[in-house]
Subunit: 390 residues, 2 copies
């Protein structure tokens, strides 16, 4: 068995996205102990910069030492007690996963189902809240990675609070890419991932909990069913003290990488990052539409960092992705769940949201689809993108 | 906030240990998609090389995408059902953690307590098995990182099987450093970590399950309480198929690192690695004893990769560690739990188990202790180490 040397790819799928070169450099710095004073200073900086990324002053803000799915489980395992009724708004794969989490924590999931590709319908949530006045938490996905739809987190949270429910929000794909204001919007518990718009390597899940969420957790009657994710224990390590008590061995080098990606976010400015994601989305959209591809999600609910488009008639979608990967080292995403085989998901996340990636994707798609005799409009995509940027 | 540049340390604590430079190089290779065909080839190689490290042909062998504590939880959450009686042999911090895991899974933990610093007493386990003929699993720690004691895994597993119990074994500190033969010893479920004798970065937990363990899991009446760690789901991604179904986003770059550390293990040869750990331990031991320090663990039960020694009388142990770190960039470990403040834990794990580290540690200890007027024997440690190697 020999060392593994991956080909350099351009990552324009649903994540992981292109990682900033500076983040890869940081990742490879010498490993130090997880209780080293230097490491503890770095951890404090990570916390502070995550607070900036989430736009929160929540003390309980830190990265879970595992991927976004574990961040989701961290929120549910700590917040949900057996018998709790949880309203889950589901409009894609990750809403379904939330339901799984509720059930496995012994909670009762009341599902509010929306069509895949649409935003969460606030009226349906209102009806569910009226029908279930014993519900204690509302959970929903801010940015559905399986469909490319964004929901109105601010309004959904406000409505949940009117009905005395706490909120759990999935911000895996939105953090750093779309407007997200944890404190202004009063989000109680939130989780994200490092491998999307933060353009860090996959493997960590930033989370944040406000005072109300912490109260719910500290007033639990039953122990949190996960030792690894029990916030009462984790906070002995990630809490405010300068002396950290050992809980588990932190993923030291991955945290170097997250630190660097947050330094980059701070250098760019959060609002500038949101703006960049939107501008490159507009250019890609103009180009894709010029090619004749159409978006699955209504314009009002479209996630700039994840562009879900239908596949031209008669085209073997897997063959297109394969050719993009093999000939141009360009990864775009397949459909997932209900949209499997029906769409492509083209990501413009974090460092991948660059002009050069937009035109690479448009020209590669045009070349491959043209070569496969698909019915597309040739020679117009680049012009449309340039007009959008101008 | 600025980029983080850690000082280069020599890591001779209880882990993380020094990471092989080739592993850090691999870590920083370009991120590719977690469903990329190249990545899937690499995953298969990781599985195969983990089977070699564990000395097993178990199909269900893969790295959990989170640190060793999550690997422990993966074993317990999948193997233990509510009401199951589990015998836990505890002789340190990680036995206690096993109990926490059993309880949080709804199991009943029967504790077999041994003195910290001693191996698990097989007679006590036998008595517990006789007293609890309804027990279904025996769990114990092969190499207790909190004390430096190794237990006779082969004998303990054989005894458990005589009483129709399955076994869960913690091999976090033993894998790659001490003899461990999963198939020959008939271990049913086992977990480890990447940051000890594999000398990879922290953040992954290799696990392996045999047929009997898999049967226990697939015959469960209740769902596994963790979605993230549910083996029925994880295996859709890590299983034998060439088409992987998405479960969670794999920590791509950390897996590059693990791959490289396993290539290194294969190049050295597993038995050679065990031998190297033992030889450098003998030299360190000779030097530490020449200095006048004494081991906590009886010679027969001593873990070569973790040397737990008492602190010379009147010495401020924290001050010594601080000086070693600040003046010589050398990290050694403090005591944990019942041994806090009473011992040092000096690791010789993986890449850290090198001759240059042994003499650095001995000379730094001699210099600092001498400077603090501790009652030690000066000028003899290096000679003793050299004799041990010769």
């Amino acid at each position: 068995m020999k060392s593994f040397h991956p080909t350099v790819r351009t990552l324009m799928g649903p994540g992981p996205s292109d990682v900033y070169p500076r983040v890869l450099d940081a990742l490879a710095r010498p490993t130090i102990g997880h209780l080293d004073p230097q490491f503890i200073v770095m951890m404090n900086e990570v916390k502070e910069m995550l607070q900036y990324a989430f736009q929160t002053t929540n003390e309980l803000t830190f990265p879970v030492s595992a991927p976004g799915s574990a961040g989701m489980e961290c929120c549910f395992a700590n917040m949900v007690e057996p018998g709790d009724k949880i309203i889950v708004c589901s409009n894609g794969v990750f809403g379904i996963r939330m339901k799984e989490n509720v059930t496995r924590c012994g909670g009762i999931a009341v599902m509010v189902e929306d069509t895949w590709g649409e935003a969460v319908d606030i009226n349906k949530l209102e009806q569910a809240l009226k029908d279930n006045d014993d519900a204690v938490i509302v959970a929903f996905v801010h940015a559905e990675t399986s469909t490319g739809a964004i929901s109105d987190a601010k309004a959904l949270v406000a409505l949940a609070h009117e009905h005395d429910c706490l909120t759990i929000v999935d911000a895996v794909t939105s953090l750093g890419g779309s407007e997200l204001r944890v404190d202004d919007w009063n989000i109680d518990a939130i989780y994200s991932g490092t491998q999307k718009c933060l353009s860090c390597v996959p493997g960590l899940s930033p989370v944040s909990f406000n005072k109300a969420a912490q109260d719910k957790i500290s007033n639990r009657e039953s122990a949190v069913q996960s030792w690894f994710l029990d916030l009462n224990l984790v906070m002995g390590y990630w809490g405010q003290n300068t002396t950290r008590s050992y809980h588990h061995t932190a993923p030291v080098n991955s945290l170097y990488a997250l630190h660097e990606s947050l330094v980059l976010l701070q250098e760019e400015g959060l609002e500038n990052s949101w703006k960049r994601h939107d501008e490159n989305h507009q250019a890609l959209k103009a180009g894709l539409e010029a090619l004749g591809l159409s978006y699955v999600v209504h314009e009002d609910d479209r996630l700039p960092q994840l562009n879900t488009v239908t596949i031209p008639e008669g085209v073997d979608e897997a063959e297109v992705r394969k050719r993009l990967l093999n000939e141009f080292n360009l990864e775009i995403g397949a459909g997932l769940g209900a949209l499997a085989g029906k769409v492509w998901r083209i990501g413009l996340m974090g460092y991948a949201s660059r002009k050069e990636n937009v035109i690479l994707c448009l020209s590669a798609l045009e070349a491959v689809l043209g070569d496969m005799n698909a019915n597309i409009n040739k020679g117009v995509a680049l012009d449309a993108a340039m007009v959008a940027w101008s």
